[in-house]
Amino acid sequence: MRSSVGQRTDMDLSVAIGSLALRNPLIAASGCFGYGVEYADVVDLSSLGGIVVKGLFLKEREGHPPPRIVETPAGMLNAIGLQGIGVRRFVDEKLPELRARHATVFVNVCGTTLDEYVEVSRILSDAEGVAAIELNISCPNIKEGGIQFGCSLNGTFDVVNAVRKVTRLPVIPKLTPNVTDVASFARAAEDAGADAVSLVNTFLAMVIDVETRRPKISNVVGGLSGPAIRPIAVRMVYECRQTVKIPIIGMGGIADARDALEFMIAGATAVQIGTANFVDPFIWSKLLDGMRDYLHRHDIPRVADLVGSLDTHHALTERSGA
């Protein structure tokens, strides 16, 4: 496809997650962007493709005692424990400001039971200003929340199916990488009526202080994120792309535009940025500029054209010729 466009700002960065149109593929990841309002001073929330607000249960949660994070090589481990204000306070106290700032709001929905997922989703469906529901069936850090659904194919099917029945909002289960075959979970989600899947959540991991022989975070184990996990996450997105037809939202260690494009080429329609936002809260405009620059250099008018454009043929040819 040839472009007659010369101006980089004319590059089309819009993408669609089913019926949900996003102005660009960049979404702030859950648990890394508070409730969004915290960042209103540093980034125009409406300039992002979307924001996924911190995971919400029906009720407030205190989360784990500190220390909750520790740095690792090119990454970090966290076990926050899903501290949160609960869905009703979110709707009353945070959503009006997000609406006023024209943010595209994805809400990360948590539950300890199937009924809780359904109830939280129902409340959000009745609220004004929610664009989509991301189902947290993959938090590795709390015993009673979600992961028992996310690590079972039947559980994944059941929670998506149940929430699907009570909302017209796009339903996007967030998948855990802590399974043998993540693509089978993407298929279970698709079979249950999911509009998309997002992946990956963090990798269950551990850091020990050798001097004291104590774990470095209070929860003993936590979820690994950051550039260290990116190649594994890209592989998982690629595997899911081969397996399901619904859109994929990819994430895992994205720190610059090339990283984001790598996920899209592997098959992600949109991407989420988490840990890198901690390092650089002004990263968003840099990512957008980098994407436009890439599209311009490669003469590609629409970023959507890149999705799943991986060229495996040449890699295979070279390998067979070696």
Partner: protein, 270 residues
Amino acid sequence: MPVDLAAEVIANRPLSADYNVVALAAPAIAAATSPGQFVMVKATAANDPLLRRPFSVFEILRTEDGTPTGVSILSKRIGASTRLLYDARPGQRIACLGPLGRPFTVVDAPADAWMVAGGVGLAPFATLAESLHARGVRTTLFYGARRAEELFYLDFFRALNVDLVLTTEDGSAGERGRVVAPLDRRLAARRASDPVMLYACGPEGMLAATARTAAKHGRPCQVSVERIMGCGLGGCYSCVVPMRGEDGAFHHVRSCLAGPVLAADQLRWD
């Protein structure tokens, strides 16, 4: 509104084998900083260490006519990031995001201000002392360190007419022992009708002891807490402290947004 600058290192002054002061060209941050606020700093563009680190703004640097030009940070070498800061070279760029957090509430005369610092906890008191001096508030610094060579910037505080009460753990300067001991005695000797505001920053044990001492004598105390912090903007929820809520119970509150300066009597001291 915080800004992020690729701030040039103007100077790096070692104070001891562990402590140093890095001066950064950061006019926009310097102009907006109030005493007690902090910056998030990253001394390498590489991924190790990955995250920024929080530092109290130590000094506001100004030209002779008073125009703010930069900030300095007081660092103690304890890990990878502070090692990079200790070795920072003039001309190098360091990512500096700020100013962040809730500052000290600066008292007015006739109240006196008593600042209580332990080790690197001296950091937020240089700017606070300047503000107090400008308001004509009588100010005392209770300052404890391991040994005499680790008591820094004494002349800076003397020049602001700050009364110094020094302690060292080895007795090599001032009183031998912990800084809370002379604080306790002075509070006991002070007339209840003479108002005094306590400000504290330092190791957790010192803060807890200061908070208890303040409570014992019925004096208000603002503490600057230091927690492992991922972002400094309220995004990550890693820096929480147990703070008393409206319901009277303690809840996890993000110290980057609610603090780092908090009322000692609202916190739980374990």
